[in-house]
Assembly symmetry: C2
Homo-oligomer: 317 residues x 2
Amino acid sequence: MERAREIEHIANYTSILTSRTLNEMTGCDVYIKCENFQRGGAFKFRGAYNAISQLTDEEKDRGIITHSSGNHAQAVAYVGKISGIKTTIVMPDNAPDVKVDATRGYGAEIVFSEATIESRENACNKLIDEHGYTLIHPYDNLNVIIGAATASVELISETGPLDYIIAPIGGGGLISGTSSYAKLSGKVKYVIGAEPELANDAYLSFKKGEIQPQQTPVTIADGLRTMLSPLTFSFIKEHVDEIITVSETEIVEAMKFLWERMKIVIEPSSATVLSALIKGLSDGQIKTDSKIGLIISGGNVDLEGFFDNIKKQIVKN
Amino acid sequence: MERAREIEHIANYTSILTSRTLNEMTGCDVYIKCENFQRGGAFKFRGAYNAISQLTDEEKDRGIITHSSGNHAQAVAYVGKISGIKTTIVMPDNAPDVKVDATRGYGAEIVFSEATIESRENACNKLIDEHGYTLIHPYDNLNVIIGAATASVELISETGPLDYIIAPIGGGGLISGTSSYAKLSGKVKYVIGAEPELANDAYLSFKKGEIQPQQTPVTIADGLRTMLSPLTFSFIKEHVDEIITVSETEIVEAMKFLWERMKIVIEPSSATVLSALIKGLSDGQIKTDSKIGLIISGGNVDLEGFFDNIKKQIVKN
């Protein structure tokens, strides 16, 4: 974690919010780390920056590549831009225009592939072979994981020691960084992962002690549809105390609470941590009267439809 | 402002956000004071608390009343609840259930009237005559105005002196408190009010030097449909440098930016301050390369439809 402070400095320091209503509702002191306020709208900037900044000059000259249609794509494109590194992003040909445009807006070259994960990886590997690009994997990369840990470093530097910290699990990068810092620093008693029931590969892997494949997940939490890698699974086995899975309805209810009562725009993936807190308290996996940190991973949601409706309602003047 | 610190302590201290994108877009250093994070979701708590806490014991025993269907109603009901004071709110009979329920949820008695302002005032005055309630007017009340000023006190205590501060104008309570503190403290050079073109009574009054009646306003900025009182107009004349009016389209565009890029849920009334900043820069009323504070007044918007749509999309599990 020796580089944590530098990454912290380069990433946006993100606010920590609290809510009397939430504290009364849970009987706990809850601290919400708002990575939706991070550059690019998600924690992904931290890992992308850390991984890319540690490349050799020769690697930087050859350029970087990743395959993603989500927050990691934008983070890599953004870091590529501010670091002056040629950046290529392989995106599925059914990616929404808004995401393609945002990524291209950071100056990245977009290469389209078919929507399957195999097509994306093949397209990516082909370009790596041809051009010598360095792959910045979204989570199967130790420097990406260390970068992600800096959100917890900031959180705990403000709150002091915590009883619990809860982070969502997709590919496992965020929970790997979060749990490593939490446990190695000795500042957090229990680390809990939050996962959708409909994308519960980490939960099943955790319970069986070996990686279980992700079936084709349909969860609304689009950032959590990916599956663990051996690297992230090793961190989870070592440092995570429990994984709590939540239903789609629970995710949407928690998301609604965070928008309506806390006035923050967060994506469904992030809402899982609040759902897991509420469920864990009700099932006894989390003790009441605790001091709890929630990592809100991002706030990138499509608001076009919402604002199109509002625009239809206004009186022209 | 001697009571400012106490009110500050009792109100939620609200975060100040910044955005690289916004700073690049405007060529200014912009500080956003997030009163959408305030208790009750709007700055109104500050004024309601200050006014109500200064009543005599006898007045508190008799109870308080106000007429409003908006943020002030909920603020008064909330302060009534935490102060143990009987609270009556006169609401129009067409007020949305969500607002009636929220106000009733704080333990206030709701009395319905017809939707006209005359009916509401008559119903209110009748109850005052019968029960001796004290009216807590939403803005025509010096203690409400002083309470509203504490948002600026907090903002400037963090940012230091500002070139400009921009606040929305509805009845004028927020701009009265903001501009008084800004100018009397000597910490802000220019105070600008933001108002919808479709509810421009303050702009017209400011330009003519006497109060102009508000026509029936249809602006989407529902918090700004009220008109100035002689008290608030006197503060505006004394301390406000300019009023910038903005179109409905400009309001929605600014609202979209604040939701999409800054990830905060804010109401249309609050978006006017960003619209006014953009317009003022473009028209030369605001100089680029300035240090600017924006008071985001609140975040109470109806999200039921948005989440109903999301609920329809999720897969049941």
